[in-house]
């Protein structure tokens, strides 16, 4: 089981690295969106610091939604997804390895670059640490629930926007606790409550997301 998980993830990474563009596009999109806000809202440090967490988190959400359709679409088009469904591997393993690969290619890079953007927004160092922590806990949720959304809209006309409409409401708790953790450090409140709630939501999503993705894939390929 674990072995199958490993080599499917390796296959996903190998495929992604052969199409470097996709991975970099998501990262550049994240940086561009996060850098647009000061241009739109004005460079006043106090203001930027207050909204930094929200901006970074929303940019991460949008970047994730942008990259979700590719999770299954290419394999669906050339028939390899169908082969995975008839293979002896439990569908849960396939969905989990796809979601993990998506996180390694989008969630993780976003989390690692976020502190740089936080500096742009004049965030103090301890807030940067909490920003990184909140993203590391929160971005897997984007991949887990996102994979369910991608499976539901597989092959559906207008999938991209529809996918956004489906998953963004489900990401509200991640945005609330993720951004909340950072802003609370700015006003002297201990962020542990936010981070542990974020972790709780991650645990719940790792239950709901894969179940929904498996059911949705079976429906999509019926």
């Amino acid at each position: 089981m674990l072995q199958a998980y490993a080599f499917i993830v390796r296959r996903e990474l190998r495929l992604a690295l052969r199409r470097k563009g996709d991975v970099l596009n998501v990262l550049v999109f994240f940086i561009v969106v996060a850098s647009l806000f000061p241009l739109g809202v004005g460079p006043e440090p106090g203001q930027l610091r207050a909204m930094a967490a929200g901006v970074v988190w929303i940019a991460a959400l949008l970047a994730a939604v942008l990259s979700l359709p590719r999770l299954f679409a290419a394999d669906h088009a050339d028939g390899t997804l169908e082969q995975m469904l008839v293979s002896p591997q439990p569908l849960l393993v396939i969905v989990l390895s796809k979601a993990s690969a998506h996180w390694l290619l989008t969630g993780l890079p976003l989390a690692l670059t976020a502190p740089l953007i936080g500096l742009q927004y004049d965030l103090p160092t301890d807030a940067l640490g909490v920003l990184l922590a909140s993203l590391l806990i929160g971005t897997p949720v984007l991949s887990l629930l996102g994979s369910a959304g991608a499976a539901l809209t597989l092959g559906v006309h207008g999938g991209g926007a529809l996918l956004g409409l489906l998953v963004l409401p489900l990401f509200v708790p991640v945005l609330v606790f993720g951004a909340g953790a950072v802003t609370s450090t700015l006003i002297g409140i201990n962020p542990s409550a936010h981070l542990s709630l974020l972790g709780a939501f991650l645990a719940v999503s790792s239950l709901i997301g894969p179940w929904a993705a498996c059911a949705a894939l079976r429906v999509a390929l019926d």
Binding site: L186, I187, G188, N190, S192, A193, H194, S196, A200, L207
Partner: protein
């Protein structure tokens, strides 16, 4: 079978984390006693919460800066605020202010928040209630979240 075990552990982890979030000293704001006991951060903005002491509201000559005293019936702290007070701000009612401790020991607020409660009842019942509230408020006030 494995899926069920994984499912149960995930739910258990989620529940544990949620409980942990509540037990932790979830401070919405610091009470005047905590500030007096030096628990609040000195060089950083934080929030103070308590009751506005009746009769303590004073407006300075410049017409914009106000001073009032926030108390939790044990300790109290003077607050200085430049700006328009929210229309629900009343003496004797609860308030939360965000700002920093000044060198003069007063709390310089950058933001003052007030919130009305959701009780709806005819005027007569309200008078009876507010009289009871006043007596109770004098005895003890506990901010939500019960920090240690």
């Amino acid at each position: 079978m494995l899926a069920i075990v994984a499912g149960v552990t995930l739910i258990a982890v989620a529940a544990a984390l949620v409980l942990n979030a509540f037990q932790g000293n979830v401070v919405f704001f610091f009470s005047p006693s905590q500030i007096a006991a030096k628990e609040a951060p000195l060089d950083r903005t934080f929030r103070v919460g308590g009751m506005v002491e009746s009769g303590s509201l004073k407006r300075r000559a410049d017409g914009l800066t106000v001073e009032f005293i926030v108390t939790d019936t044990a300790k109290s702290i003077p607050v200085v605020y430049t700006g328009i007070l929210p229309d629900l701000f009343k003496e004797g009612k609860g308030v939360v202010a965000q700002g920093k401790l000044g060198p003069d020991g007063a709390f310089h607020a950058s933001e003052v928040l007030a919130k009305h409660d959701e009780n709806y009842m005819p005027p007569e019942a309200a008078h009876a209630l507010s009289k009871a509230e006043a007596d109770k408020a004098a005895k003890s006030v506990v901010p939500p979240g019960g920090n240690r």
